[in-house]
């Protein structure tokens, strides 16, 4: 057992840091990301530089534009890039890198790999995933968006919702129903869809933070060529599950990195806020809570490393990845709640208010965190997965009856 990196990997990290310092100098202000166009441009320039510098697609084959590197190298890159990604709106393609890329690489056809992997890595394409529907949220397999085969293409009709970053995106992973007469989980197919195709309409939804990060997508006779089917027709459910598992392996580690940055912000914010004329961090109540948050952050980090190590050792990501999702989403809620508590009455002040602390950064994260215990599998769904697929507890009879139908 050794938590240290090998000298070669340490060296790799040093080279990466030096490259990042040269490529994105600290004294240069970060690019504008306020509009859709600006955010896309910022992301695409950033990703292009990573690609050219040899830091994109670390463990993907060279023939698709990857680096043929190790998972440890990928972990290092993920860790080091976290603050840079934030500055360059890399979040708009988080789904592309976290889900589309591994899924296409693992189960896509050769043609699909040729078509998409390089363009994901060099920043050309932004991808999203359209699984959820107005009546199929946690119960993803209740999907009713129809795809009917017509000659050499599918005609897709229906509606998706809560599609994060769709307004920035070129392509989408889409779950559709191809056989309505088959049992619920056996009539679904997995398509790759060009969002610029005729019949696709994207409508942003304004969310609790006031921003419109996610969207509704309407499909009206959208044509998808048959070669954009992933896996076999009616076998899309297992592919969707695989996609979701991949999302979680790197997800936990990169969340741990993101939350470490957030914790450092919290610590320095808490160091300057006062109550009763004294620094708030003199109050043991807050010190205890800061310590608890930090502990939970370490627990997340080392749980992420364990899952990572398991996959690294040749295993496949399993349902125990759900543990990490529960850890990070709870931590995000607790950390932002603590930030609000520390600010006292100032926690009401939003960006633009002259006295707002850190220009309302924590107000945003507080509201945003409310979505994180819902997105990517609600807390309740995660606990069902752990209970049933890891601990082997029986399904609820009413639910298993529906599944059998």
């Amino acid at each position: 057992m050794d938590y240290r990196l090998s000298p070669e990997d340490e060296n790799y990290r040093e080279e990466l840091r030096a490259w990042l310092d040269r490529t994105f100098p600290k004294d240069r202000p970060p690019p504008k990301t306020d509009t859709i166009e600006d955010a896309r441009k910022a992301y695409q320039n950033y990703q292009r530089k990573l690609f050219e510098g040899g830091y994109a697609g670390i463990r993907y084959p060279r023939k698709y534009g990857g680096q043929n590197g190790s998972m440890i190298q990928e972990m290092i890159v993920t860790e080091e890039l976290a603050p840079y990604g934030r500055d360059h709106a890399a979040g708009i393609n988080a789904i592309g890198m976290g889900m589309a890329l591994p899924t296409i690489h693992a189960v896509g056809t050769e043609e699909q790999k040729e078509m998409f992997i390089r363009k994901l890595l060099d920043g050309t394409h932004v991808w999203v995933q359209a699984f959820s529907e107005p009546n199929a949220g946690s119960d993803v397999a209740a999907c009713t968006t129809r795809a009917v085969r017509k000659g050499d293409r599918y005609l897709v009709n229906g509606q998706k919702i809560w599609t994060t970053s769709a307004q920035y995106a070129d392509w989408s992973l889409v779950l559709v129903r191809t056989s309505p007469d088959k049992p619920k989980h056996r009539g679904l197919s997995y398509l790759l869809m060009d969002l610029k195709a005729p019949g696709v309409e994207i409508r942003p939804i304004r969310q609790i933070t006031g921003e419109d990060e996610f969207n509704e997508i309407y499909f009206d006779d959208v044509e998808v060529p048959l070669n954009m089917l992933v896996g076999r027709e009616d076998e899309g459910w297992m592919i969707a599950l695989t996609t979701l598992m991949f999302e979680r392996v790197m997800g936990d580690l990169s969340m741990a990195n993101t939350f470490k940055i957030m914790f450092d912000n919290l610590l320095s914010m808490a160091g300057s806020v006062k109550e009763n004329g004294r620094p708030v961090l003199e109050n043991p109540y807050y010190r205890q809570k800061m310590a608890k948050c930090y502990s939970d952050l370490m627990v997340l980090k080392y749980t992420g490393l364990r899952n990572f190590s398991k996959v690294f050792g040749g295993g496949v990501p399993g349902p125990e990845g759900s543990i990490g999702k529960l850890l990070w989403s709870t931590l995000q809620v607790n950390m932002s709640e603590l930030a609000m508590e520390i600010q006292g009455p100032y926690n009401q002040l939003m960006p633009g208010s002259p006295s707002a602390i850190d220009n309302g950064l924590f107000q945003y994260s507080y509201l945003y965190a409310k979505g994180m215990v819902i997105a990517a599998g609600t807390t309740e769904v995660m606990k069902n997965i752990i209970g049933e697929r890891v601990l082997g507890l029986p399904k609820d009879m009413s639910r298993s009856a529906i599944t059998r139908k």
Partner: protein, 383 residues
């Protein structure tokens, strides 16, 4: 980087698991619970034959010379069966203190005998007015004609009646700061003036005592480490032992979770197993989150004790101790809830785990203490 167990460690775990399932079933734990001594010589010697007494003792003192990670693998299994008796106090407290501060002759005398199962020791640290603060050391050892005379009371001393000696932290210099003026002494439990009163504690599987010192005389040969310099080695010993407790907690929580999950699969109410109801299922899922999160931080903290810089190791120890203690308590609480009325009985084993969890929560610094340590170490003072 490789954070999985190697083949030797997997074998250590399997061997410990098999041994303890056989030698320490619940009936044995219950018998020891009611027993004054709280363990048997037979089991003690078998454990010594396994090499467990000297796991982390260097080979030149009859030990095996392994790291804290390896010991934690065994401690996890011990926690899983709520092992009664003085293993923890001897190996994680007394032996570690000798390793950290002992001179060559002390190591030859004490460590070498511990390693083969011929001697037992414990640590007398906590005081009546110190709460669970390890640094509150007020009991005096006054210099007197070339030696020292000790007067005062130590509380919550584990396994004192069955120990041959104890490591005693006492104040030899003025002030309240443990970093200055605290000295460690090796004191024979039979020393004149030393009296031991067993405490009636909730956790009957790990006996604790009040130890009174009334004019107990020690010589300078009994000093462990430097005079006035006891705190630095002692705090390292405590960090290692806190990680050891975290390991016990993880093992106990794992077993309590298994009891709850197994029961939830077979107990039928309203026509289906109770584990099918989300109210119960989600409690069980939360147990797994607690157990696995705890195991993740435990093994980093164990590794850090042997490999990281002291400050990092201390931080990890406090995180592991506080986190794993709370997790163990949480899992036991929910375990009893899942079991329902049977979990409330003496007959079911659940209470053995809950009681050990409660004892471990306050042992070697409670959660509030460790969170304050964490706050200090991450820089809550300096911002």
């Amino acid at each position: 980087m490789d954070i999985s167990f190697n083949q030797d460690q997997i074998e250590i775990a399997n061997q410990a698991h098999r041994f303890l399932e056989k030698e320490c079933p619940a009936e044995f734990v219950r018998r020891m619970y009611e027993d004054e001594k709280g363990f048997t010589d037979e089991l003690w010697h078998k454990m010594a034959e396994m090499g467990w007494m000297g796991m982390t003792i260097p080979e030149q003192y009859n030990g095996v010379g392994l790291g804290l990670t390896d010991l934690c693998i065994i401690l996890e299994e011990m926690g899983r069966v709520v092992l009664p008796g003085p293993y923890f106090s001897t190996v994680m407290l007394a032996a570690e203190a000798l390793k950290a501060a002992g001179n060559e002759s002390q190591k030859q005398t004490y460590l070498a005998r511990i390693a083969v199962g011929e001697s037992r020791g414990t640590l007398a640290l906590f005081e009546p007015e110190g709460g669970s603060r390890p640094g509150y050391i007020r009991m005096e050892a006054k210099e007197d004609s070339g030696g020292f005379i000790m007067n005062g009371t130590k509380l919550f001393v584990p396994d004192a009646p069955v120990s041959d000696f104890m490591v005693v932290a006492a104040r030899t210099g003025a002030g309240n700061d443990p970093a200055e003026g605290v000295t460690l002494f090796l004191v024979d439990t039979g020393a004149p003036g030393l009296s031991i009163t067993p405490l009636i504690t909730m956790d009957g599987t790990r006996k604790q005592s009040a130890v009174r010192f009334e004019g107990v005389k020690v010589t300078s040969e009994n000093i462990l480490g430097g005079i006035h310099k006891g705190w630095e080695p002692l705090s390292r010993v405590l960090n290692r032992a806190q990680v050891g407790l975290a390991a016990e907690n993880v093992g106990g929580a794992q077993k309590a979770m298994e009891m709850a999950v197994d029961y939830a699969k077979i107990r039928v109410a309203f026509d289906q197993p109770i584990g099918a109801y989300q109210a119960v299922k989600h409690m069980c899922a939360q147990m797994l989150v607690e157990v696995e999160g705890s195991r993740s931080i435990l093994y980093y903290a164990a590794w850090a004790q042997d490999e990281e810089r002291p400050e990092q190791a201390a931080l990890a120890a406090s995180v592991a101790k506080s986190h794993c203690s709370e997790a163990y308590r949480n899992v036991c609480t929910d375990c009893i809830q899942v079991l329902g009325a049977i979990g409330f009985t003496w007959e079911h084993d659940a209470h053995l785990f809950l009681k050990r969890a409660k004892a471990n929560q306050v042992a070697l610094g409670d959660t509030a203490f460790h969170r304050e340590e964490i706050a200090r170490l991450i820089g809550c003072d300096g911002v």
